[in-house]
């Protein structure tokens, strides 16, 4: 059982920790989007099927269906911010609003994001969305959002800082019995995620870019 890493507000995030996620695509159920729903509920963004402007609706996490045209093999997996150690979005952000926390979480500072969307141009995973219109009242007090700013998966930073030790999508996937998602500290050799990463062959999406991702996939 993993120990929760809650920390007092006065204490900065530590680089001794690297939060990460393991996605086991072989266990990810086709047609199930519990992780997406949980993310939307936890972070207060409207699910795309309930959005009026679907093409412009933010999506922090999405289910991706893959098919090999040659072998017909089908895979499906959740896709979201990969929390790169060398994040292109952080590199290109003119104001430094896009930043990586010491514990590996890539975030957007909502006070200094000017909505230039350069990070969206730079992200190889299309993980980011611009808030295209005024937000309704579904906003959560600990998840600040706003029109004209860019946003993406925060690895449920509010939950991590509370000491929950997990994210909404992982909780939902576990609750559904699929257990395709695992969250934890990749720097701690004794953590569940580190143990599983040692055992399972995993890949990084667009590994050719050498961005050192916080999200690793098995079965792709």
């Amino acid at each position: 059982m993993e120990v929760a890493h809650g920390r007092p507000e006065s204490q900065a995030a530590s680089s001794a920790v690297r939060w990460g996620m393991l996605v086991d695509a072989t266990k990810c159920e086709s047609g199930c989007d519990d992780c997406v729903t949980a993310c939307s509920t936890e972070n207060g963004w409207t699910p795309v099927d309930q959005s009026v402007h679907k093409k412009q609706a933010p999506q922090w996490i999405r289910k991706l269906e893959l098919q090999n045209p040659l072998t017909q093999m089908e895979t499906n997996l959740p896709m979201m911010c990969q929390h790169c150690a060398d994040a292109p979005c952080v590199d290109v952000c003119p104001t430094g609003a896009s930043f990586k926390r010491a514990d590996g979480i890539v975030l957007v500072n909502r006070h200094t994001c000017i909505g230039c969307r350069y990070c969206m141009m730079a992200c190889p995973y299309k993980a980011r969305s611009l808030v295209h219109e005024s937000l309704n009242d579904t906003q959560k007090p600990d998840v600040p959002r706003g029109i004209g700013c860019v946003e993406s998966c925060t690895l449920c930073v509010q939950k991590i800082d509370r000491g929950d030790g997990t994210t909404a999508c992982v909780e939902a996937c576990t609750a559904s019995g699929h257990n395709a998602l695992l969250f934890g500290d990749m720097n701690d050799p004794e953590s569940e995620i580190s143990k599983r990463l040692r055992e399972l062959p995993t890949k990084q999406v667009r590994a050719d870019l050498n961005l050192n991702l916080g999200v690793r996939y098995h079965g792709i």
Partner: protein, 400 residues
Amino acid sequence: MASITFREVEGSSLKYWLLFGGLGLFVLFGALAWNYMHHHGHVVTGMDNQIVWGLPHVFAVFLIVAASGALNVASIASVFNQKMYKPLAPLSAVLALALMLGGLLVLVLDLGRSDRLIVAMTHFNFKSMFTWNVFLYSGFFGLVGIYLWTMLDRSVAGYAKTAGTAAFIWRLILTTGTGSLFGFLIARELYGSSMLAPMFIIMSFAYGLAVYLMVLAAAYAWTGRPLGDAVMLRLKNLLAVFVAAVLYFTVVFHLTNLYFAKMEGVEAFVLRDGGIITTLFWVGQIVIGCILPLFILLTNLGKTRVWIMIASGLIILGGMAQMYVTIIGAQAYPLDMFPGLLESSSFADGQFHTYSPSVPEFFLGFGGVAIALLATLFGIKVLRLLPASLDDATVARLEH
């Protein structure tokens, strides 16, 4: 060197004020378009989370690139000491400043939070090409401003070559920076290439000179001042060289991509399957922007004023098409996260993304063009930028 008389445009005729008012109206429309977009958010534009940079960026980047190129004529005069071009230099500098102003306005007014412009000027991330561009654009205003001062004030005329050289080097770096906005992006197949920097420089030469020629000819025709063929014919030859170079870079860029299997998809998209993007590439960028102007400029047609104007207009249209293909086309092609696999999702993964620009986006873009022309129109009224005559005899005397 024979002296030349510079004179302000009187600017009191009905025609002047009609032009002024017409451009002013477009500036007003641009302002209203910004207000509308800012109030409602980008939801009222054709942009979405797939096509994140739309028509305003096409206009803005075109204007910024053309601004750098509009300085060509002044550079040839000061840096390369071609006496014939000296009387043409002040207009060149003012046009460069005006186009830069128009382009930057469109760029910053299209920000999701354009009210936070001050943040962009006070918070810097020096690993970002955007940050570098903030300094390159500011420096451009400063250096070209000083350069213009050395041209207009005889007491500092001795510094013209120094200022002109500084401005020349600066604008080469500036356009390298503009091209690198795209060149430094690893995510998208059509970007991530050092070719984009020199390609943008040569495009700036062509687009900027085309704009300059049209403004020059219009200014002389509408004020009834003589403008000889000697000037126009020299400049049109230069323009042909620039357009040929643009075509060369474009061909090399795509040929190189075609050789790499991983680029075949995106090249097939641009060259064959991309619908409007493909049409804009072949008809807009290649035929209208390069082939037709080259034909006009290199044949006898290019010896007449009207055809030089037509060629310049085509180069500008082709340039806009090129920017559309470069900016929208690269985003319309889906990100290839899993090479060789078919992707689908609620977020349009694996699909060609479509984009229909909205009316406010057009007006924001036109507003930037109008601001640039309005600033130039105002400039030639209040400053002595234009020689009273550029007839062949006057120009010939300059070279001796």
